[in-house]
Symmetry: C2
Subunit: 221 residues, 2 copies
DNA sequence: TTATTTAATTGTCAGCGTTAATTTAGTGGT
DNA sequence: ACCACTAAATTAACGCTGACAATTAAATAA
């Protein structure tokens, strides 16, 4: 056994501690992306951080909390890019929807494990509820997109009555489509019966985006 | 510590062993449904079975294999009910789609953990690939529904060109919708901004089914 | 009745999240 | 420059997990 720890140093200044915590989150992200939820252990993370495993508890109350902290960070990154699309849009209402949808599907496909930790896998259970869990609200990402819808309603560009329903519906469509794309992209899958059942990821995405586009068009006044 | 094991008996006849294995799957299902993926341990299952934990390995190569075996069993149950709908249908093409979709969403909502083990959570990893994993094909459930589509194509009731795309699309819609419904049903969730963002599960389902219905209608010749 | 087979057992392993007790590096006050 | 204090870091241990090896003994076949 070689000693992997670095020359023992302590992050005492609040700024230094924040920095250290941030590094923990970054290493945690990498660990998760590389080895998945089952390879994501505090011991492995500690080794990467060159610190003892129990020292992580000076930064986080539980594995669950760490998990949620990473999720929140991913959502922040997601929001940032998402906001950019939303705020700089000069396109039509339909086009902005198309851009948001495309971004969502590309984001999921670019790193499915990241997508999974954000939208699919629930955090490991813990006895206590920590600060990150209290802070975290599901459906948070939704708000950014909802803003677009509301602005359009206010500007009387679209029908008001079913806008919210449609919004959640499209969110569901994208959530499901991202998963179907992933399953389609796996080599393992081979349709059992006929030849014509085959479908490529590109084909599927094109179809999905067109469906969304057509549906949103109907909403215009 | 009380000894929970039953008076030691052995299931040696092939029939008896099959029976015993079936009981393992049934208890496993219950355990999973009751305590979720994290409460689902071989030791807890063994206790329920009143046997030693390592004896489970006489029935299954790994926890992963057990997981997949349970998943397969759930799919069989799903297929059975699904087939009934498909095979006894006297309705229009649109109505049968509506029935399939309704069944899917009701199935998911009736027991979300069951739905999750079938469609969302991936089985825990294992070093070796067992017989159940070899047997299991993802997208298997899809075939039953595909049959309906193909029959309709053959009967020249619907457009052929985009039938398969639409099929996968609707599958994605349902997969996503089931998850949105679940999130909406959680008490935790409270929208942040305006009042009108609220939406009930019933509202959402109604909307979703209507969307599917409208979309399938367009496919008719 | 005996030999064989194999279900079921005990014991052990490394790995996991978590906690308690302890050490010691970094900070602020004098 | 020194000292006291705080808290980041350590070591050690707990009970849990999936898995494996060796052993026992119940059910079957000869």
């Amino acid at each position: 056994m070689t000693d992997n720890r670095k020359k023992s140093t302590r992050a005492r200044a609040p700024e230094k501690k924040k920095e250290q915590f941030n590094k923990i989150l970054e290493e945690g992200k990498e660990l998760f992306i590389k080895y998945g939820s089952h390879g994501f252990s505090l011991r492995a993370l500690a080794k990467r951080m060159k610190m003892s495993q129990s020292n992580l508890y000076n930064y986080v109350q539980s594995k669950r909390e760490l998990w949620i902290a990473i999720r929140i960070k991913y959502f922040k990154e997601f929001q940032e890019k998402f906001s950019e699309i939303v705020e700089t849009h000069k396109d039509s209402y339909v086009d902005i929807w198309l851009k948001m949808a495309t971004f969502f599907l590309e984001f999921a496909a670019a790193d499915y494990r990241r997508f999974a930790i954000m939208f699919l896998i629930s955090a490991p259970p813990s006895e206590k509820i920590g600060p990150f869990e209290k802070k975290y609200k599901p459906f948070q990402l939704v708000n950014q997109a909802l803003l677009v819808v509301e602005q359009a309603i206010d500007a009387k560009k679209i029908k008001k009555d079913s806008a919210i329903e449609l919004f959640y519906y499209v969110y569901g469509v994208l959530l499901g489509a991202a998963q179907v794309e992933f399953q389609l992209s796996k080599k393992i899958y081979q349709p059992i019966t006929a030849e014509e059942q085959k479908i490529s990821v590109d084909q599927f995405r094109k179809f999905t985006l067109e469906e969304i586009s057509k549906r949103v068009e109907q909403e215009l006044l």
